[in-house]
Symmetry: C2
Subunit: 467 residues, 2 copies
């Protein structure tokens, strides 16, 4: 057992089992999540109450022990990795759904509640958190706040920041800011909780939150449609969003090589797909009845067919088939079987600039190495692209910077972001310093120095110093 | 001409007419807006470019001149009042709509663009900023960012924070943070622009912004419906929000005395209204055709009539009549003719707690003075109530604290906010210190000290020190 765990146990013994301290082999026996170094600290506390979390943080401040907040460890950029001498502070035991208020449409939850647990609890009232993402089974509300998670429904409901009404957090000075308002409108001075959202643990550890809920309509129709480019996909999206009798529930674009390879991995038949089609759009709509949803989707696509150069498409005949459509998009792990070590990225590009960006990206990658290509897919309605670079030698250390430059060039100029929803973590450090906004970085650093003078909260991550 | 204006003119003469300096009688001849002390400084700069704004701020830092940011001066809580020796920094000449991108659904605008100007420009593309409020003709985008404005559509689209994608601002150290991303998803380290939103000029002066645009459907039907209470109004709202073929475009509740007095002021016939009805709900929906909108509204109300105790109602027969319905709610100036000096408030209460709050409020006011009552009205779908206290002697200075206590008691406990959309300014100082969140206040003050050590940005306002 680590020295930190032993000392915590001894010094905070009045909290008893509320500390949930784990170290050594007991910790190493667990799955570390998406990054092998997440458990590097070898010492974890899982406070069961905000008060226990406060006591642990105060102890860490007193003893100069760095704190690494962790949620579901589904982060893809190494924002939760930890080193010996640090303490992992986990949301795992703050896992209670405290209240769901269907009239106010709010859920008050512990930071360790998973998205899926909240989705299931809200569904009993015909509601949904309004955010959905592939890692729903393990991603926690606290972690989603820390990274300002986005996902599938952001084009309609906004990102996590827009769905969070209240936050309770332990600040780096050991104080507890409990700002659990349950209303949409709060103009009551500087809104400190906004700093915690999307700051990857730099400014505090989230313990509880109030999440806004939205209407949930399970009556769906789902289609896969071959499209010539992102522009035509956006035209379809615009059309369906403007239909008063429908709600667009998802719009995910997969460029051809991603779609075909994902389909092959899942033994999904692609005979229906035109041989030349550059991309496939997954669309889901909801409506008042299944017949309405299906016919509106089919009629809408038929009406748009020629004008937008649609080539081929299928509409799911069953819920099971719709799930298989979604799996083609969401089960993207095959990438790392096809291409171990594939450098992966997550950028935002304003919709009007998407096709030019993807064309430019592929050209820039070929300039690095003529054998390089990319899988490109993502939440097209809000311009969020996931990119994995493939080809012989893509994982070579000496090409890392050149590949990053190929991906990030022109993103900021177009009004986009080098990181859309995955955060910065440790993997995107160079991008943050090279392609991020330097004035914004300087202010973030000044606030870090003011709130966390000992630099104890998730040190070595954002806000990185530029020097 | 003031000494400040003279010195600025001299020291920054390379900016020529881009400074737009005004002082003395030329300034005093203008309308000061909603607060008589807005022009107290007697000196105003209206930079025409972000670079001119930077130069002015740097000059102010060097010369220790406090800066008071002003937008359209429609603020109702004295957030823009200024004193001799300060410089008013106005957004007025930053009034260019730089670009509207209908595909990305974004508008890039100067901070001085009025909401109405942006609404009109967006309407040409079938779009809207997604925020609407009664002061649309004079409120500016910069001012709406500074106060995190809410208004009529917040229940659906969120508040200003949710519609702002990018912000450019001069920080209190004279640096320009130009973070004009045009995408929804940005998880690229701490999001500094969130600090500027809703901080009433404490952390910087907004020069430009990117605003997200939403679909606009002008095909409407509008009704006034007598309802027994807020709970029944919320049930109606819930019903109409859940109809897939409709969009709810407005839901404003007016308790009886407000409605009747407003109608009297505007010579609006209320014969149709049941004599006992406690409140009147203004509802507007949009649909695919006028007939659909109207029949869905009428049929929906008929179906809900008995269950929810509806007593009486009228549906607008024309656009002109619909506008008259809205004027009953929006032209609330009559309050100050009926009751000069009426203490006015703007609170958020979670929907489920609204009726108990209003009942308790009236009882608490009568406990202060049996002759006291309140006009209560507001954006009911998000729990935002506007309150004006009426009765003989309500403006007496020695009753100020007792009336405030009557209004604010139980708001925070219910999960609401003492200020919903008007901000803190100077008028809500006591509420901020007494009913606001003390831990949140302390963090706001620490950030203020870090970013603005000379306390030059809108001094004497938020974040107030508690001491």
């Amino acid at each position: 057992m680590s020295e930190i765990i032993r000392s915590l146990q001894q010094d905070l013994n009045e909290f008893g089992t509320d500390l949930h301290l784990i170290g050594g082999e007991k910790l190493n026996g667990r799955h570390p999540g998406e990054h092998p170094d997440n458990f590097g600290a070898g010492a974890m506390a899982q406070p069961a109450t905000p008060e226990a979390a406060v006591a642990i943080v105060r102890w860490c401040i007193e003893n100069n022990v760095p704190v690494v907040p962790q949620g579901g460890r589904t982060g893809l950029v190494g924002g939760g990795i930890s080193r010996p001498g640090e303490l992992i502070l986990s949301t795992a035991k703050l896992d209670r759904i405290e209240a769901i208020d269907p009239l106010a449409r709010t859920a008050t939850v512990g930071a360790g509640v998973t998205l899926q647990a909240l989705q299931e609890a809200a569904a009993e009232f015909g509601l949904t958190p309004g955010i959905d993402l592939a890692a729903r089974g393990s991603a926690t509300i606290g972690g989603m706040i820390a990274t300002n998670a986005g996902g599938i429904l952001a084009f309609r409901n906004g990102v996590m920041r827009h769905q969070v009404l209240g936050v309770e957090a332990v600040m780096p000075d050991g104080s507890l800011v409990s700002d659990l308002t349950r209303v949409l409108k709060v103009s009551a001075g500087p809104d400190i909780k906004q700093l915690l959202i999307g700051s990857e643990g730099a400014y505090g550890f989230v313990t509880r939150a109030v999440v806004k809920l939205e209407s949930f309509n399970p009556i769906r129709a789902t289609a896969l449609v071959g499209v010539p480019d992102a522009t035509s996909a956006l035209a379809l999206i615009g059309y369906f969003r403007a239909q008063p009798s429908l709600q667009l529930e998802g719009a995910e674009l997969m460029w051809r090589n991603f779609f075909v390879d994902s389909a092959r991995e899942r033994s999904f038949e692609v005979d229906w797909l035109d041989e030349e089609t550059p991309a496939v759009l997954l669309m889901e709509v909801s409506a008042a009845s299944e017949e309405n949803a299906r016919s509106a989707l089919e009629d809408g696509l038929a009406g748009l067919w020629e004008e937008h150069g649609l080539t081929s498409g299928i509409v799911a005949a069953s819920l099971d088939q719709a799930r298989r459509f979604w799996a083609l998009r969401e089960e993207s792990d095959f990438i790392y079987r096809v291409q171990p070590g594939a450098p992966s990225f997550d950028v935002s590009v304003p919709p009007g600039a998407l096709d030019a960006y993807v064309t430019g990206l592929k050209a820039r990658l070929k300039a690095v190495d003529p054998g390089f290509d990319a899988y490109v897919y993502g939440h097209i309605a809000d311009g969020n692209l996931h990119i994995s670079v493939i080809g012989d030698g893509v994982a070579a250390a000496d090409l890392k910077a050149a590949i990053e430059d190929a991906v990030y060039t022109s993103v900021a100029e177009a009004g986009g972001s080098f990181s859309a929803e995955h955060g910065v973590g440790t993997e995107k450090r160079r991008a943050y310093l090279t392609f991020g906004n330097s004035a914004r970085r300087a202010v973030a650093q000044a606030i870090k120095a003011a709130l966390d003078p000992k630099n104890l909260f998730n040190p070595g991550k954002v806000p990185y110093r530029a020097d």
